[in-house]
Symmetry: C2
Subunit: 331 residues, 2 copies
């Protein structure tokens, strides 16, 4: 399906101008992350693979881009009442840091079984932590109570145009960085899919600026809701997936699913074993820490399925993050 550039704002709630505005808004706070390559991985993938290293982003993940855009974009009087979110992972830290930079309160609802180091990271940014039971209902109850008591604005982990536009700034930078040298761009791009914020921002950006580019998603076989949704042509939720890629255990949302549906050339699913193998490979060969969610996209690029697709000489991977508990590695 093709959607003309001017339609995207009406159809999806977010367009390339939102991404450009986000890039400008977060520029004083976010890192321009580097591109890396690895001869060994090029050889294994059968094509040039370019890594956009969001593991080097503030808080160690792309999530800072979206949270920063959403929080910096709030009107002063609304911002003053603070922000609230629920997350036990990178989004919690992203909201906490962005709120700190804006000088407003952050309220983070976390399950009471969260890893201590993650809770401490959020506290370290000056956020207030509220514990909930580790289930959907308790999370919502506590979240709503905090919203009502404080008047804080809810910052969605992914299903919000401001978040999607913020995540799209990584692809915007990526295109800029790869077309600069020699004028040779990317033929395809791939990101992991959890809630779909990163892939949606990437899809809006790349389809607008380089419509010929193939856009792929990657999912664990154990959390393949987006792949099943795409195959069926309608939203399929994920149910309590146990994949090691903890950032990808979420279903897509009402904003992200239509963008995924209309823009992706395909979604590659990979086994838990291949995720761990890809993670090891990147650590050992590239000397960078990537988290399991990022390794999902690397495993996809190394899969026979993706390697068999012709006409792709240069593929870009957005490495979503590098937040790993180095005391508990999966090998």
């Amino acid at each position: 399906m093709t959607t003309s550039l001017t339609d995207k704002k009406t159809t999806y709630g977010v367009d390339i101008e939102d991404v450009r505005a986000a890039a400008k808004r977060i520029a004083p706070y976010a890192h321009i992350t580097p591109i890396m390559t690895c001869a060994t991985i090029d050889e294994l993938a059968g094509r040039s693979v370019l890594f956009k290293c969001e593991n080097f982003q503030k808080i160690g993940a792309f999530k800072f881009r979206g949270a920063c855009n959403a929080i910096m974009g709030l009107p002063d009087d609304i911002a003053a009442k603070g922000v609230v979110t629920h997350s036990s992972g990178n989004h919690a830290q992203a909201v906490a840091l962005a709120a700190k930079l804006r000088g407003i309160p952050a309220h983070i609802v976390m399950p009471n079984n969260s890893v201590v180091v993650k809770k401490n990271a959020v506290l370290g940014y000056g956020a207030k932590v509220y514990e909930c039971e580790p289930n959907e209902q308790s999370r919502h109850e506590v979240g709503e109570r905090v919203e009502n008591e404080t008047g804080a604005t809810f910052v969605s982990p992914f299903d919000d145009p401001a978040i999607i536009a913020g995540q799209g700034t990584s692809a915007l930078e990526f295109l800029d960085q790869t077309s600069d040298s020699g004028g040779r761009g990317l033929d395809a791009i791939i990101t992991p899919i959890g809630g779909g914020g990163l892939i949606s921002g990437t899809a809006i950006t790349c389809s607008s600026l380089q419509p010929s580019m193939k856009i792929f998603g990657a999912e664990p076989k154990m959390a393949d809701d987006a792949a099943r949704s795409l195959a069926k042509g309608e939203f399929v939720p994920v149910e309590n997936p146990q994949t090691i890629a903890d950032g990808l255990r979420t279903s897509t949302g009402k904003y992200t699913w239509p963008i995924i549906r209309d823009h992706l050339a395909g979604i590659t699913t990979v086994s838990e074993e291949d995720i761990v193998k890809a993670m090891r490979l990147v650590w050992e060969r590239m000397k960078i820490l990537i988290e399991p969610s990022s390794a999902v996209a690397v495993a996809a690029v190394l899969s026979p399925e993706l390697k068999a697709i012709p006409g792709i000489d240069r593929i870009g991977i957005i490495i979503s993050g590098g937040n790993v508990d180095i005391d508990h590695l999966p090998w």
Copy 2:
């Protein structure tokens, strides 16, 4: 002590022109490694710390620079007979890869208790491996036998002007990369000291190009031979040190010791505990893999001793390498 620029070749066997020639010689083969920074580490160190990331160099360590310079510099007829060295670590891989790139045989003598993964890495570059007993005598015997039988040229791990010049290319790049943007250079530079190849090349380069720069070394307290040598003013060997920083268990040599003696502003020694803490800090905060030997220099920059030295706003660290056995981490 000051030595005029033109003296260095006579006094030390290597000068800045050798380093420049090395840079030109290895340019087609070696990576230009990036500079990274980390706000958390700046804060802990009390000054700006710039990381020159040789963990992203070919074979994952600066050692490729020296080996490549030595091997590419051999006359054709001598090179044709191959090269030989003894090493169980990064130098073995560096020689194996440089020889492969030159298209000549590499003979590597390794102790029979070497880690299998390191032996396989060398074999993977097409080198021939000779096992010796894990002691000095056997290593020399096997090495000499291989030299005699093959006519191969010995490539020293550190104590050779061509190796020192090659290792100096990292500092040459570092100065170039840090003076480019805004014209603000480094006030000081620090590297770990094992055999002394890296610090010697760094000292020749920095003292020639920016004589006001302070040059520091870093050593494990458990292998502090260079620090003790510097304190005493004469060469002191190290004896069977058991530090976790396996790249730094060597004494300095007849070329490297005089360069160290005449150029260093000081050598900071650090505990095993501080090495592991610094290694963790870099992994977790910077998302890059560094090996214990590199963490020694990071620990030094975070030490009260180095932090107390005034007049240093910007210090550069050469991160020597990132080759770590990720199945056996020291925490």
